[in-house]
Amino acid sequence: MTSQTNDARVAAPTGLEVGESVVLAIDDLRTHFRTEQGVVRAVDGVSLTVPRGKTVCVVGESGCGKSVTARSVLGLVDPPGRIEAGHIWWRPDPGTAPLDLAGLDPRGEPIRNIRGNQIGMVFQEPMASLSPMYTIGNQLTQAIRLHVNLSAKEARERAIAQLVRVGIPQPERRFDAYPFQLSGGMCQRAMIAIALACDPALLIADEPTTALDVTTQARILDLIRELQDETGMAVMFITHDLGVVAEMADEVVVMYLGTVVERGTVTDIFERPRHPYTQALLESVPAIGRGDRARLRTIAGMVPHPDDRPTGCPFHTRCRSAMPGLCDVTPPAAHDLGDGRVAACHLLDPDLPPSPTPAVAPVAIEITEPDHAVPPDPQIGDQPLLSVRQLRMHFPVTKGMFGRVAGHVRAVDDVDLDIHPGETLGLVGESGCGKTTLGRCIARALDPTGGQIHYQDPAGGRPVDLARLTNTQLHPYRREIRVIFQDPFGSLNPRKTLLQIIAEPLRNRWSGRADSAIEDQVAEMLRRVGLRPEYMRRYPHAFSGGERQRVNIARALITNPRLVIADEAVSALDVSVRAQILNLLRDLQDEYRLTYLFISHDLSVVEHLCDRVAVMYLGKIVEQTDTGALYAGPRHPYTEALLSAVPRPDPRLRDTGARIRLGDDLPDPADPPPGCPFHTRCPHRRLTRCDTEAPRLQDVTAGHAASCHYAGELALAGAAHTRGEHGA
């Protein structure tokens, strides 16, 4: 698999020759944005090659110039961005001479003939990348007819064939659907159909699965690989998810601040990373199935903005092995390590006198604080902090002229859930399974249709049923149960300062309280979440995504709550920032004796943070148990499928054994299938019971509940196993 490009010429970063085995060669590319504040060097000397028929993954945190590099290839950089220097050699056909795309006019005819025709591109947000004003079919036929001379009818036939090829069911019907009528996964398939409409020699995929669910992501990745096998195209895959890299890549390019810090084959990068940044990135990934709940190792700080790029090595400000006097002065050259490996680090410079730190394994990341992640609170009593019983949240579906209620979407349907004081309960499931709605019901942002939410203040007092309280009665509990939201950008009012944002819940409580007292409290809170108190007069736009999420956390914790509902709180963040936030959440839990309901679709994060996990499907809890038990031996086929879909940051696991892929997307929650709701997608269904009789959630072993008729019989694969032996 790691058959090296056997192209020695590739190694030379500058003045490289474009061999016949290479389809795309980027040579010292510099794409700069000239703004009024100065020149932003988003891409600053990137060299990489894409071998014919192979997949090259470009990884790095956001702000590293990955996307700009990809867009530069097709001349799609928006003004004021411009390719200032360098070459992009494009050689779709070994028989012809390479063409320099960097030299083409981005608005001209020649580059347009390459876009969509020889190079297809897929983007991050499938919904937003398709125009809402036209049908899928319209946009697909347009892409075909731009480059192939076909009649409208022929183009339609070809478009439908294309939809079949990317696995869209009922292609004739979907041809006339608008993007907003389809799910995100379907839209991404349509995008891929458009990108591959003219059988390009290269597909550029810019974070194509970042906005998707883990199960959908797995299917899309499979699809890209299948299509690659079928057509022999090369793929340039941009992602920040190292699990995806391990699944997809033949070769890996690691980028940092507009430069390539390391590149090599996927096994080399994952098993023998040479650059401190690569090593640090790999270490900040919470790996699934290890059962380790230690603090995550993080990369200190964050990516600096490209307009205040550090002198010398761009990474030296965050590098543990930085050598003063060298790294902060001289930018490292790219060292050829043989076998097509290149890394730009002074530690690898053979001419340099041996440094005090051993160059073989730069001590990139050490854990400074010894693990003070305490084991689950020994105090966890039998008395749950919150106990949810038969909770239902149904949304009416109206039809016709007078808004007749035609049915109900059962977003939450008879959910029972206990949360004990001091624990972290994970709630996982695909999007649309009702996990967010459940969280909002508990926070009483929604009025549940039925059921009880018993809340027991651990400090004493009688339990209350939150589901029945009126808004005024809820008031004291609003500060006990707080929410951290997903989107760090959308959830903070841009017109308020941090002080106003964080102090808002306090002002609601005591309107007559002295302002300075509130300020002190906010300052203290900011310090606790790792922000400087001086920032309190600034507005949210001055902060990065990770910092804003800290503000969100501060706002949630300012009232000293008992229960914090974290709704996809780290999903929008980069790997290294995510690790920082997860560590922070954990520290704060110890410090304030918090109880978390952690809602996420990311199973590796859940495993890392949670004591117990509940899996949700179509508004129901299908499995619930301790984290270790769930990941080691799931009892519900849905859990097994979810675990199997998580990409693992280990390329060796790639081709081991069968993987479970759930067919089709979620059934319509307004019209759930009869019997077991999961039977339509279940690989283990048996026709005797599953489609007629609905299973109930019951204990399989002590403390491990699953709602599957065959929970006791099925041998399901967990995450700790390598994917392989799973029987039926």
Binding site: L76, G120, A128, S129, M133, F180, M401
Partner: protein, 314 residues
């Protein structure tokens, strides 16, 4: 789509009913009625009015009756046989008065809308596509001027230019005054619409789907027309609905200055003399036209934008 249309049409009925009640009530709010206003005017001229004669008139017009009786008299006449009542001041049926004036008003409004679109559309696109170019700055500056300058001032200025430079008579209604009126009335709307179109288009041009379409190899001009422009067109259609009332409001002064026989000045004088049936009927008809205009713009929006069409059914 049909159910969408049907629902919107049904919504119109209570809306129009409420408008008619409110407008009738507002007309009656000032103390006194048409007769007291008439008496004041006559007494100011030194004449006396016979009280018995006055009482006779009052009972004939039904002015002393309760509000709901008067309202019922008025509205039932309109619904049953399009009888809008009698104008006290003009001593003619309101329907006749309106028949004289309404066509010109509607023609003026329609022509103004067209003028606004024809001006705003190309300028708006230009200043969005060539953002921060000289042309954009010029268009933006002119737009601000157009927004800021009071209508009557512009009307006077144009009339003066027409008279002094071209020697045209502007005292009587003729094509020139009509054109001036269109220009004056349309300026503010055009300027506003340019701003909206520019802002909308700039937003749309940054959307990922534009880059995605470009990545398919679509030529710039086709891309612009097919994708972002169609989305940015929304305000053009939504303006149809509320253009009419604002036009009639702005038109009062302009039509007075230019001496055009439109509904605006008629409404003003009817309100001054408390000529209640005339005023009430004008307001009612304008509201109905506005409601219909809103319906048309809703339908046009639904036709233009599948998101409106396919999501409202829920």
């Amino acid at each position: 789509m049909l159910s969408f249309l049907g629902r919107r049409a049904l919504y119109m009925i209570p809306t129009v009913f409420l408008i008619s009640v409110v407008s009738f009530a507002i007309i009656q709010l000032p103390p006194g009625d048409y007769l007291t206003a008439l008496v004041t005017r006559l007494e100011a001229q030194g004449e006396t009015v016979d009280q018995t004669q006055l009482e006779g008139l009052r009972s004939r017009y039904g002015l002393g009756e309760a509000f709901h009786v008067q309202y019922w008299k008025w509205i039932s006449g309109i619904v049953a046989d399009l009888d809008f009542g009698q104008s006290f001041e003009w001593n003619r049926p309101v329907a006749d008065l309106l028949a004289d004036r309404l066509p010109l008003t509607i023609a003026l409004a329609g022509a103004t809308v067209l003028f606004t679109w024809l001006m705003a559309f190309p300028i708006g696109i230009y200043s969005a596509v060539k953002q921060y170019s000289v042309g954009d700055y010029v268009a933006t500056t002119l737009g601000f001027l157009g927004l800021a300058m009071p209508n009557f001032l512009l009307a006077l200025l144009l009339m003066w230019i027409a008279f002094s430079t071209f020697g045209l008579s502007v005292g009587r209604p003729n094509p020139v005054t009509f054109a001036i009126a269109i220009g004056v009335l349309g300026t503010a709307g055009t300027a506003g619409l340019i701003r909206i179109l520019r802002a909308n288009l700039l937003d749309e041009l940054r959307k990922p789907y534009v880059v995605a379409a470009r990545a398919q190899g679509l030529p710039e001009r086709r891309l612009l027309v097919k994708y972002p422009l169609r989305v940015a067109m929304n305000p053009f259609f939504s303006t149809v609905g509320w253009l009419l009332p604002s036009l009639v409001g702005g038109e009062v002064i302009v039509a007075t200055v230019i001496n055009l026989n439109t509904v605006g000045p008629l409404l003003l004088s009817a309100l001054q003399s408390q000529d209640m049936y005339l005023a009430g009927s004008i307001i009612l008809i304008l509201s109905v036209l506005t409601v219909i205009g809103t319906l048309i713009s809703d339908v046009a929006l639904a036709w233009l934008d599948p998101r409106v069409r396919l999501r409202t059914g829920r």
